[in-house]
Point group: C2
């Protein structure tokens, strides 16, 4: 029988803290897909968003609460009644809903950011937990900037949250400043000052500004915490959150020494990492622990030799443990709809009706160009289809000529969201520049390219190219991703999607402004 | 007066452990450029390579020893006389040369990899240190796989190394398995078992397989170690080494609590990171601590609000500390040779004669296309020039047509290293595929593309594109990088350089084979 006292709950904040990373703009379909994958990975809690901040965020959290089975679904809220009402309305249809409310307890945040007093913070914390508790038993409270707070004052606030019924207390290292021994000592002191903490779940939430997020989280777990807030690929504000896959594999690999365990299905780690990287446009560096391309690769001769003689001479983990062997599915140009559907199901995608038809059409197009269509290719195609939106510009036709002896020329035709087409042509410094300028002319927008990345989905000359674009349009940053065997086609799709995303966000912000919703400059986080 | 007892020596192994990462193949010029930058960064020791492994590595270490002033220059060697002789011959012209010799002390490595006995390991360690000591006073010894070794046996080996005169003892966590409290406890036990360790420098060398490399290194420093082996951007075998910039900024930011310090000039960190990323082709993920694009960026509204009100509400470091403000140099199309030379000097490049002429020509070409040429652009151009090699293929001319209505067509002309030109044309799945296939035809090689990445050097539509290609040619992996405002031109240059690198390595391996040098399957590392 598993040892419940040593079970560490995985609280995934990829869709909340992770999604706050600059340039990430996931739509509802994409968030839902990530949430389903997190459920397959077996996380305990999904922090699905921060519902008050925008109608789009609200709807995505609501969709996840209604659709995703297994994990607790959590919404973030400041201490105001409106925040908590919005969080509750978004999560209430979940099997197991949670409200997570927070307020800063460090003097620097109280004085400089909140511009209030410690007494006011106590009052707000009390009211927030009490209000949330009217809706649900499962209430989490975080003293923001906990690691820089006066521990006695923070203990007082935590005691009040517990008195009002909070069931999880999360003490974040909001600015990524603490060190393992400090963070552990803080928790020991909190247990001493607030004995009732022994009866609830204490939680860590660490940022990686100094490269210590995983080590600090681990120090907190060793000190008695049993929930860890983390994000896939370690994304999140600034240098990001503690990396989910590193925490899970640390506890898994060192279980016999540490004695802590999680309910995560490690074999879903690689796929989850790829999905999040693809949908956010945030690349994973080759030397990233666990999920980087090299994490299980060796270069030096003796290492290879050692690995051949005995895997454990240089490898402490097996690539199959994180699901890196799961890419054996291969389809070809003669594979039918049934085979595709079965392969997609094995990959965890439930695709029906029009979406299956569309995916099959894309699959056939690609199978005509590539001899073998692999699981990685299918993942890329399906993710690409999820990005399609009826209210977006679509690339209808393009032509690009580039040469070392004259300037490149691009011509494009784009179908407009409201119907009709736009055309544009341009000569630029390079073919991509010319292409993007021609698109600007066709859609009559002055988008400015900020970042541009291309990766191949798999190896080989017929690989699918995946292009990520970050652009600025009317003061708003937005990203888009496109997939094709043709890098220019993928670039054009990515660029048009980024423009569509920017315009959709502008329209949403406009609508919100008219409705006088919560002021957007007041969206804080632990 | 600085507190010498608490000074932590930065031992950079970017050019040794880092360079062992799959797909990295730096030429001598590139290694020298990185070594010069490491000297500007103020590292204490540069591990420049592993001289016995190839003539190319030997020559690069020798060039660094002769040319780079400031840091100790170190060469790695196994315990054999030949290894140590090669290491000494490579480093002996340095101001302060060091030989670093190592042998595994864990039973799994002794039995499975070395297939020998503990007694033999003791004998080899003794002989190696004694032999190295005949050449130089500065001898470092590492018991490989130290963290998994029986500590009493390892202590015995260390005692012998000290008896023979080793001045630095480095205890690596070769497989990235240890945890901070374990690693610290191991050092405490070693100090107890070998009191003479108090008289030399004890050193940490940590791998990041479980995400703990920085935390483990830090734990070792807290336990008394005063040298940290690390690599820029955390590159190295598998998930890489402890990240130099994270260690330096951790000690810098938490100095008042920790009391340890380094001689590193933190303002060179950003530039060093860019240089290493560019020359190795290893991207840095946006959420990488310290040097990721987002490390100093905020998305959430309140964070921005907080940052405006008071920087320290969310930022514990200042971007200027790592040199992120240093990109104020801007040149335009009317800037002359003198302005370029001055700007390059400010960037740390000493460019003279033909190289300056070539750089000026490139600069003028780019200034014609871009209104402003920034420091980042100049770095990219100069790095690109360093990659030029007289024995390489060169892209003379190309033409690519791509369209959504018909297959892409590419035609190229390439000048051959031995004189003469080759031409090729191809229709492929996409313009890049067609281009690369046309190059294969022109140079009559069957290179196979494995990975392909594109990044923009700066923002904006006239940005320079930097393309990294990893390919396989005759069983050998090689990478190449190309820079241009035209992404196709950059791709073609990168591809041709990768082919040139693969052929050069094949030729070197061939030569080595005929000379019967050290068997390449025997190149181990701590």
């Amino acid at each position: 029988m598993p040892d419940e006292a040593n079970r560490v709950r995985i609280f995934d904040t990829t869709l909340r803290d992770g999604e706050q990373s600059p340039g990430i703009s996931l739509n509802k379909t994409e968030k839902l897909e990530i949430a389903h994958q997190l459920a397959r990975l077996g996380v305990d809690i999904i922090e699905a968003g921060f519902p008050i901040t925008s109608p789009g965020d609200f709807e995505a959290v609501q969709a996840i609460a209604r659709d995703v089975e297994g994990p607790v679904v959590c919404g973030l809220a400041r201490t105001s009644k409106e925040d908590i009402d919005a969080a509750w309305n978004a999560v209430k249809d979940a099997e197991r809903p949670r409200i997570h409310t927070f307020i800063a307890t460090s003097d620097i945040h109280i004085e400089r950011k909140l511009q209030t007093t410690r007494d006011d913070v106590i009052g707000q914390a009390r009211a927030a937990v009490a209000h949330a508790k009217r809706y649900t038993d499962d209430v989490e409270f975080s003293p923001e900037d906990g690691s820089r707070s006066d521990v006695e004052f923070m203990a007082e606030v935590i005691q009040i949250a517990l008195d009002e019924g909070a069931t999880t207390i999360n003490v974040p290292d909001t600015v990524g400043y603490t060190m393992p021994h400090e963070y552990a000592a803080m928790f020991e002191e909190l247990y001493r000052l607030v004995p009732a903490l022994r009866d609830v779940v204490l939680s860590v939430h660490c940022h990686n500004d100094l490269g210590l997020a995983v080590a600090n989280s681990f120090a907190g777990l060793t000190a008695g915490c049993r929930q860890v807030e983390c994000a896939v690929n370690g994304i999140g504000e600034r240098a990001g959150n503690a990396s989910l896959e590193e925490i899970v594999m640390l506890l898994h690999t060192r279980k016999s020494s540490v004695g802590l365990w999680t309910g995560a299905n490690t074999r879903e780690i690689a796929r989850t990492s790829r999905l999040v990287s693809r949908l956010t446009g945030y690349t994973v560096q080759p030397n990233k622990a666990i999920v980087g391309r090299n994490a299980f690769a060796h270069e030096a001769g003796i290492h290879q030799d050692g690995v051949l003689k005995e895997r454990t001479t240089y490898e402490i983990m097996d690539a199959t443990t994180i699901g890196l062997d799961a890419n054996s599915i291969v389809l070809g140009k003669h594979s039918g709809r049934h085979a595709l559907r079965k392969a997609l199901e094995e990959l965890g995608f439930e695709v029906e009706g029009a979406t299956l038809n569309q995916a099959f059409k894309r699959f056939k197009d690609i199978a005509d160009k590539k001899k073998k269509v692999t699981a990685l290719d299918l993942e890329a195609i399906v993710s690409d289809e999820m990005r399609q939106s009826p209210a977006a510009f679509e690339l209808e036709w393009f032509e690009v000529e580039a040469s070392s002896s004259r300037g490149p020329l691009a011509r494009v035709r784009v179908s407009m969201p409201g119907g009709g087409v736009g055309e544009g042509s341009f000569t630029g410094d390079g073919p991509v520049d010319a292409f993007f300028s021609a698109i600007n002319a066709a859609v009559r927008q002055e988008a400015r390219l900020k970042e541009y990345h291309v990766s191949a989905v798999t190896g080989g000359r017929d690989a699918l190219g995946e292009v990520t674009v970050l652009l600025e349009l009317a003061g708003r940053m937005a990203s888009g991703v496109g997939v094709s065997t043709d890098i220019l086609e993928a670039s054009g799709k990515a660029y048009l999607r980024a423009i569509s995303n920017a315009l959709a966000e502008s329209a949403a912000a406009e609508a919100e402004h008219h409705l006088s919703r919560a002021e957007p400059e007041q969206t804080p986080t632990p």
